[in-house]
Symmetry: C2
Subunit: 405 residues, 2 copies
Amino acid sequence: MSICDVSDGLISVPQATEIILNNIEDFGVEEIPFIQSVHRVLKENILADRDFPPFNRVSMDGIAIAFTEFEKGRKQFKIEGIQPAGTPQITVRNPENCVEVMTGAILPKGVDIVIPYELINIDNGIATLQTEAIKFFQNVHKKGKDRKQNEIILRENTRISPAEIGVLATVGKAKVKVAKNPRVLIVSTGDELVEVNQNPLSHQIRRSNVYTLVSLLEKLKIETKTIHINDDKENLRKTIKNLLQDYDVLLFSGAVSKGKFDFIPDVLADLGVQKLFHRVSQRPGKPFWFGKKERKTIFAFPGNPVSTFVSCLRYFYPWFYKSVGLEYENKHFAVLDSDYVFKSDLTYFLQVKLTNKNGTIYATPITGHGSGDLANLVDVDAFLELPKGQNLYPKGSIYKYIKFR
Amino acid sequence: MSICDVSDGLISVPQATEIILNNIEDFGVEEIPFIQSVHRVLKENILADRDFPPFNRVSMDGIAIAFTEFEKGRKQFKIEGIQPAGTPQITVRNPENCVEVMTGAILPKGVDIVIPYELINIDNGIATLQTEAIKFFQNVHKKGKDRKQNEIILRENTRISPAEIGVLATVGKAKVKVAKNPRVLIVSTGDELVEVNQNPLSHQIRRSNVYTLVSLLEKLKIETKTIHINDDKENLRKTIKNLLQDYDVLLFSGAVSKGKFDFIPDVLADLGVQKLFHRVSQRPGKPFWFGKKERKTIFAFPGNPVSTFVSCLRYFYPWFYKSVGLEYENKHFAVLDSDYVFKSDLTYFLQVKLTNKNGTIYATPITGHGSGDLANLVDVDAFLELPKGQNLYPKGSIYKYIKFR
């Protein structure tokens, strides 16, 4: 083994990002019940099935009258009938009369303005106006004002939020086409790991990274499975060979560094997975390995808990966003609120607490005990990405952040 | 019916908020598998089950040597053995020797510093140091450095994120106590409504508000049920009477305004539900009704889609947050990026698009066609809360926002 230069084989964070974003995959489209589609990505344009609103819709409770009668100076209107919401349109027989109308009702034929109850007085079946300020079509939400029939109302590649759920319901899209998610398997290795419900011996620890990854992917609405493989090269080879058949994405945690049992890069090479990079000039997460075999994508994150955590957010998330058709560029910036010194020539993912002061986001460094301290993240909101190439990151300077809560 | 003063019965948005926050409920605690607990609220303190790390943990792959030997000037160390991760601690027999150690391994007895492979040269079983810069205990994550055994590592009332999932796994909390969610029923009324998979007649529309509410509550991890009740007073009375037995919270949408068929306030009064307020000086959502019967809580939102949407975010969310023990004060501020005129003496929930420019959040008004236009929300990120009492909201002024995507 020879002495390694620190920069040996390292690529920069922007280079790693570019490679990952050039290696996205399309997982196709599936149709699901609209009510299950929150947070999924729409894969069809949604058209207005009719005008929005579909009829001249009354928007206040009150009476409806003919504007021409008001213009003639009429103040008193006999109540001729009532138009509740959800009933077929009635017609006013005598234009000098009025109709009581309810919010959400279709505007009756023969009338065109609505005066709310607050501005009238009703006595003995006669409504008397208490206002002079009347405009044509007031308190009527006119047919087609918001959207015309067949107009696009939701665009493909929109991430569905509760607002879109309401629109989908309105136009009758009981089922909706969304981006299919990749089949993802999360793989832990490392003979020091025992299950969460087991008591570790003094040299052992519990398996935690896979569960962190499960919940990080759950935030993306991706259901995952997990598996543990012991640090046995032949066993790893056989098992991973089968997994490459069954899954679109494998996420590894651990066994990618320079240790004697860090078999993952070798095993993946044996299995014909093309290494696209190994080792990124970043802290934490330097030994990050990324590769592809045909349409299968492999993210092998370093086993240190915070490395796995930040690498998933920084690389898997944008890869997934771009794959399903979403915006993937991070446009979240925060102002560093104290000087920070970091001397290694690496991009540093600084753990920070975010505070909104008068509309500006400030990032306060929360100093932990090194990248292995997952417990430190409990007091942290986000990682601030300090680009490599400087020693001092001055107070007041602006960097991108990745929020995880 | 008499003429109503515009301010009749209206309370302000801050008053409504105060009443709602004074009427929270405790729904108790349940124990669930930790992996299902993301976004739930922790209801126990979590202690470190042992020191964090539980042993002197090697944090780089390389060799471990005794610092005293280095101080004596020794540069060459015979490799005596290997300490992989997950194996019981070995002991160095001869202090002049070294041991190969792997990241995550327990540090062997008799050695106290780790030199990474990058800074040594190995030839014929002898490791030669290529560095002078060595510090005591370097590259060893010392036992108990992050947390001591029995120290509190997660506090009660923390909202669980993927970071907390990792910590729960690490300390072996396979099951965890979280705040129980209320049993919530979402009720639509209105005879104009048909189901999403039905074709409405010309005077009908599809049921959408209940689904918007379902997905808004899903974001809080609250599972809900929905029901539709026709605008028949006796039927409403009988049905709601039973529902008050079975649920902790009823969310209504519609039938709370001044229309002839807006029976909800009367029916709730008949059933002994105490009205805490009706009508709030806000747009949209003025006819919002809120009340309690013993430990049951009733939010009756106006039926207009955007009114229901913003009222749920502005009132139900904080009520729920405080009920389960979370921070409920909105600390999100944005800078209005153009003048905005709004002349009614009401708090206005302005629909805005948010942009982060150099760390500052700017809010751009997205003008819709009135509060009924749910489709407008598709282009909107948030509501900016413009307090009542002014006509002009100047560019550059700062207001709270409520983000929904």
